[in-house]
Structure formats: structure tokens, C-alpha cells
Amino acid sequence: MKRHSVVRVAAIVAATFLAAGTLTACSAGASDDGGAKTLRVTLANHVWTDTIKSKLPEFEAATGLTVELSQYGEDQLSDQYNVKLNAGTDEIDVMMYRPLQEGKLFAKNGYLADLSDDVEANADWDWSDFQSGPVESTTYDGNVVGVPIITEQEVLYYRKDLLAKAGLEVPTTMEELEAAAKAIKEQNPGVAGFVARTGKSAAVTQFSSFLYSFGGDFIDEDGNSAIASPEAKEAYAFYGGLIRDYGPENVSTDMSWPEAMAIFTQGQAGLYTEADSLYKNATDPETSKVSDTVGFAPMPAGPGGSVAYNVPSWALGINAESAYSAEAWSFIEWATSAKLTLEVQQDGVPGARQSVWEDPEGTSTYPADLAAAIATSTKNGVGHDRPRVIKVPEAREIVGDPIVIAITGGDSDAAADAASDAFQGILDDE
């Protein structure tokens, strides 16, 4: 008797679930028919996204569109794009992407719609207001494929108290940087003079400003590898040497920004070169123990001057397969308007509009020394912080190798020669 009922109940439950499951499967697909059009926007987790998200109702009210927002971490976002765009999806309309990491690949594969006409259409929106370095990175084969929204420059983070204790001015040249790192390390047991990213791939972007300041670059004018040039070798040896000689004890060669920033914000390093977009990690007492003594300065000058990168870390593009490209463009136009760019920038996200930087309001929430340092970087900054190729992840692994060799005390010149050959192989393939 008992078993009988067990079986019967199980069958009924199973049937119910089957029916319910089929229903959910069917209803889940319904999307944009009926009523308002739905615009699907895919964004990265970022302060920029938080601010835009809070303003979305304004956009929806003004246009009558419904915005469906998906948000992911940067690596998850990349995975999404690689799978979905490869399958020719039309379920993404507006996409936030990294022009330097993926822009060339996406544009070459035809994932990104040509926006050349859209950007010129509205004089009030003013395309010419966008800084030329970032714009260059969102242009492919003469066609505009993205609108830069967030820019990034490398600056020097330093501890005012430690420099004052050593009786030193803020370093303005590479020699002064080294001397300051040495003095801080000697005077403060347990505190590193200098810290920066050490991971093979992660360090490449922050090493790039050293490379430029020593007069080098990843690729020369003829499109060949330039990382075995005397300037590049000098830069590798200098960057690695700073960390080896004046860096933290037993330094890991796998640090990206979260690890390096943690060392700095815990008060265990005096000088730190890093992207300015991370400055809130250092100035916010919630995450930093040195929030009241942190200062900012432009990249110290090397033999080639003080040349930092000035890059668009993120841009907005439109999926070439999107059925709503006009609506998608209206979203981009709204999100990148001068008014919103100003608001986002005041929340701590450096934008790409020149007028906002020139507006005192635009830097009112920034530490004054940081605003000045950024201004220097934007003036003569280089528009890329990693090799501009299609296979960026592979290229970063290669050009980053001599950095790690230099940090561990190996022969970085030989490593640079070897890396250059491998890098040339990637360039020849493309």
C-alpha cells in the first residue's frame, strides 16, 4: 500500500514539474513584441555603469524605450562577447568594450557597427570634443566603431610623509625616482621604496609609460617589433631593477593591481606607478590606511621625457547585428553627452571629453595634484598602453616576459631579444 502511494505521488509531482518546466521554457524567450521596444545594453562592472544605471529612468522616460541592462566583470564580459558575437547574436544592442584589448579583434571580425555617420550627425553632441588619442583607438580602418567613455593615464602615487621624512622633493625624473625609492627603503624598515605590478601580462600596461619615457615603444613605425631596442632594454632593466632593489621583500612576480595596490594602501610602500582610474582605492579611508598622506604626480621623466599613456580603457559600440541600431545610437549619444560625462567624471571616472577637463567643475572632486598630473599626461600622452595587435593577450604574455626576468635578477637584455623574436612572429602573422 505504502509503496503504491509513493510511486503515484512521485509520478504526479514529476508530471507537474514537467509541465511547469515547459511553460517556463516557452515564456522565457518572449522579449520585445508588444508595447515598448527593448534595448539590450551590456556593460562592465564599473563606477561609470553605476552612475549611468541610476540615470536610466531619465533616458527611458525621454525615449519611450525599455532598457534591459546586463552587467558583468571584465573577463566575464569578454567571454560573453566571444561566444555571443561569434554566434552572430542580435540579443546585444549596445556593448561596452575595451578598445585596446579587444577593439581590433572585434572590428576585424565585423562585430562592431560603423558609426562614422552617426558621430557627425549631431553638432550639439560634438564629436570633435573627444580627445584625439582615445578616438584614434576606437577607429578602425578609417571608420569610427566606438565612442570612448572612460580614459586612463598613468601617474605616480607617492606617500607625502615618507618623502618629507627623507627630505626629498617629489621625483620628476627617473634618477630622482630611483634615489627616492632607495632613501625610503633604507629609512623605513619593512616599507618598500617602490612597488608596481609584477605579473607578466598585468605589468605590461604600467610598464608602457616607462618604455615611452625611455624613448621606446612596442612597435616601430614600420610595424616591426621594437622591444629589443636599446631604449626598451634600458626600460626593462630599470623597471625590474626598481622592484628588485627597492621593492617589497620576497616580491611575488604575479601581482596585478589588487595586490600592488594593497601593498601601497596598507602603508608598505612609498612610491607606486599605476593607472589614475584606481585612485579612489588609495584616497578612500574605507580601503586605504594612507588616504590622508597619498599624493599624485606625473610620470617621472626619462631620457625621452615624461611620456605616460593616455588611453580609452572603455568605449561603447553597437553590435553590427543589432536590429535597433538607431535606438542604440540614441543611448550612446545620451550616455556620452557632455552633461553626463561631467557627472560621471565627478564620481571619479576620467572621461574622454576635452571640454569637461577644461571645465573647473570637471576636476572639482579630484585631488588637485591628481588633476594636474592627469593634465600633463593627457597633453603628451601616447594612445596605447599595450601592443596594438589582434592577439593582445598573447602579445602581452610575450612582451611582459622580460619584465619578470628583470625583477628576478635574470638577464633581461637576452630575454628582450628572445621576446622580440616571438613578438615579431605575432606581428608577421597579422
Binding site: 509503496r3 503504491h4 509513493v6 510511486v7 514529476a14 514539474f17 514537467l18 511547469a20 518546466g21 515547459t22 517556463t24 521554457a25 516557452c26 515564456s27 522565457a28 524567450g29 518572449a30 522579449s31 562592465a44 562592472n45 564599473h46 563606477v47 534591459e68 541592462l69 546586463s70 552587467q71 558583468y72 566583470g73 571584465e74 566575464q76 567571454d79 560573453q80 561566444v83 555571443k84 561569434n86 554566434a87 552572430g88 547574436t89 540579443e91 589588487p258 594593497a262 594602501t265 596598507q266 593607472a275 582610474s277 584606481l278 579612489k280 582605492n281 579611508p285 574605507e286 580601503t287 586605504s288 590606511k289 580603457s313 572603455w314
Partner: protein
């Protein structure tokens, strides 16, 4: 078995032991066992303890080595995860997908396993196993393509189907070995007494297989609960599961470690509770049929 353990410095005894030397061995063994067990447990539990402790710290304290053990605990992270970021929604999504994919897999997989076991369908079993051999990531693009064209991406249906794809072979294989070990004579007896083939399966074999069903069900539930890759691509804004939602705390220019750890606790605790209460089934189910021969 009878080899003498070398004398260990651990068992230093201040005065001569009054008991006979024969009892020494078990005692040394006991101490060794306690030490080994403690070390092993510590090793396995340390990351979990660290995760839990970190979830009660502020972001600046997490990095502070001097506050590893002593710190002022805060519940802000949990508040952030559960109320401000609405993790109950993600918990429901994970639970719903795991439950349904497990139930459907059992519904299809158990009869299939029964047939494969009783009729020795080894080749069919091998085909089912193929699903586990092919790396899931290579299926993602074609799946996405098919499901996107069916307008199913972003719904629960597609998540359940994709999780079933991995759960089914697991269930089929566990159940095949389980059915192999249940005596055929019982079913024959039932048939002699007037039951049909299916009747014998439903009323005799199935009730006897509850431990196996529990094992297969729990393992498939755990798999689905933890699955990240399929959910990442196939879920939508409203159907995100917990492992995907956890990444909400990793931003481009900031990582909220405290909330990340709190969210990790939220993901881990339910599955740990389930595993704790059902582990006797898992163990007995896994070894079922192991000594058949």
C-alpha cells in the same frame, strides 16, 4: 599491520608507563591519528574559515596582516549582499535551476540506466558518457547559436537543459552500477507473483535504490548549483545564478573583497548543509556495486 611505529618525540612521557608494552602501540597510534586528523581538517577547513572571517571584515582590514584573527566584526558585507544587492533572487534562481535539472535528469536517467543495466546496452551507455568527455566549453557556441535562434536564451528552460546535459550521464552511470548490484532474482520473484516488468521496476527495484537515487540526485544538484560556465553565457539579467552573480563585486577599478567573501559564504553554506546531512548516502551510493564480482 603489525609493524612497529618508530618512537615519536610526541609521545614523551615524564614517568614510566605502568601498563604493559603491548598497550603502547595503540596509544602511539591514537596520538598519531589525532595529529594527522587535525592537520588534515585544518588544511581543508582553513580556506573556508578564512572566507568566513574575511566576510566579517572591512575591506581595509582584510589586507591587514595584524588583524588576521583580532578585528572588529561587521555585518555590513552581509547587509550589502542580501539587502542591497538582492541575493535572495539569485539564490532562488540557483535553487530552481538545480532542483528542476536534477528532477528531470532523474526522471529520464533512472529508467534509461535501468534499461542499460538489465539489457546490457554497453554501447548506448558509452554514448551517454560521451557527453561527459566532450569539454563543455566547446559546446557553448553551438548551444548559444541554437538557443538564441529559438529565443530561449535568458530563460530558465535553457539553463535547466544545459545543466541536465551534464547531470544525465552522471546519474545514468551511478544508477547503472547500482542496478547492476541489485539482485535480479527479486524482480523475477515479483514477476512470478504477477507483476509486469515495469511493475517490478517501479515497486521492487526503485524503492530498493533510494540510496543510489539520493547520491545521484545530490551530486547532480551540487554540480548545477556550482556551475558557472553555462550560466554565464546562457542566463539573462533575471535568471543569473549565484556563481555568476558573485562577480558583481569585482569591478574594473575596485574589488569589494568583503562583500565578495560574504557572497561566497552565501553560496557555500546551503550546499555544505545539504552535503553534511546527506553524506552517508553519497558515500554508500558511490561504493555501491564497487565489490560486485
Amino acid at each position: 599491520m603489525t609493524t612497529t611505529l618508530p618512537a615519536r618525540p610526541v609521545i614523551e612521557t615524564p614517568r614510566p608507563v605502568p601498563t604493559a608494552p603491548r598497550r603502547r602501540k595503540p596509544r602511539a597510534y591514537k596520538i598519531f591519528r589525532v595529529v594527522a586528523l587535525t592537520l588534515t581538517v585544518l588544511l581543508f577547513i582553513a580556506p573556508l574559515v578564512w572566507m568566513f572571517i574575511a566576510s566579517l571584515k572591512t575591506n581595509v582590514d582584510i589586507y591587514d596582516a595584524s588583524k588576521t584573527v583580532f578585528f572588529t566584526p561587521t555585518l555590513d558585507n552581509y547587509d550589502n549582499v542580501l539587502s542591497r544587492n538582492n541575493y535572495f533572487g539569485f539564490i532562488f534562481n540557483s535553487f530552481w535551476v538545480a532542483l528542476l535539472s536534477t528532477l528531470f535528469s532523474l526522471l529520464i536517467g533512472v529508467p534509461a540506466a535501468y534499461a542499460m543495466s538489465r539489457f546490457a546496452m554497453h554501447r548506448s551507455a558509452l554514448v551517454v558518457l560521451m557527453a561527459r568527455i566532450i569539454p563543455g566549453v566547446s559546446l557553448l557556441v553551438p548551444w548559444y547559436f541554437i538557443f538564441a535562434n529559438m529565443r530561449m536564451v535568458g530563460g530558465f528552460g535553457v539553463l535547466i537543459l544545459s545543466h541536465m546535459f551534464v547531470a544525465l550521464p552522471l546519474i545514468v552511470y551511478i544508477m547503472i552500477s547500482y542496478f547492476d548490484s541489485t539482485p535480479l532474482e527479486l524482480e523475477e520473484q515479483a514477476q512470478v507473483d504477477g507483476l509486469t516488468h515495469i511493475g517490478a521496476f517501479l515497486r521492487i527495484t526503485l524503492p530498493l535504490s533510494v540510496p543510489g537515487l539520493a547520491t545521484a540526485g545530490i551530486l547532480s544538484f551540487i554540480f548545477s548549483w556550482n556551475n558557472f560556465m553555462f550560466a554565464l553565457v546562457l542566463s539573462g539579467a533575471n535568471t543569473k545564478t549565484l556563481p555568476v552573480a558573485i562577480f558583481n563585486f569585482v569591478s574594473y577599478a575596485s574589488i569589494d573583497w568583503g562583500s565578495l567573501m560574504a557572497a561566497a559564504v552565501v553560496v557555500t553554506v546551503p550546499i555544505m548543509v545539504i552535503a553534511l546531512f546527506t553524506q552517508k548516502y553519497i558515500v554508500s551510493g558511490l561504493t555501491a556495486g564497487a565489490t560486485k564480482g
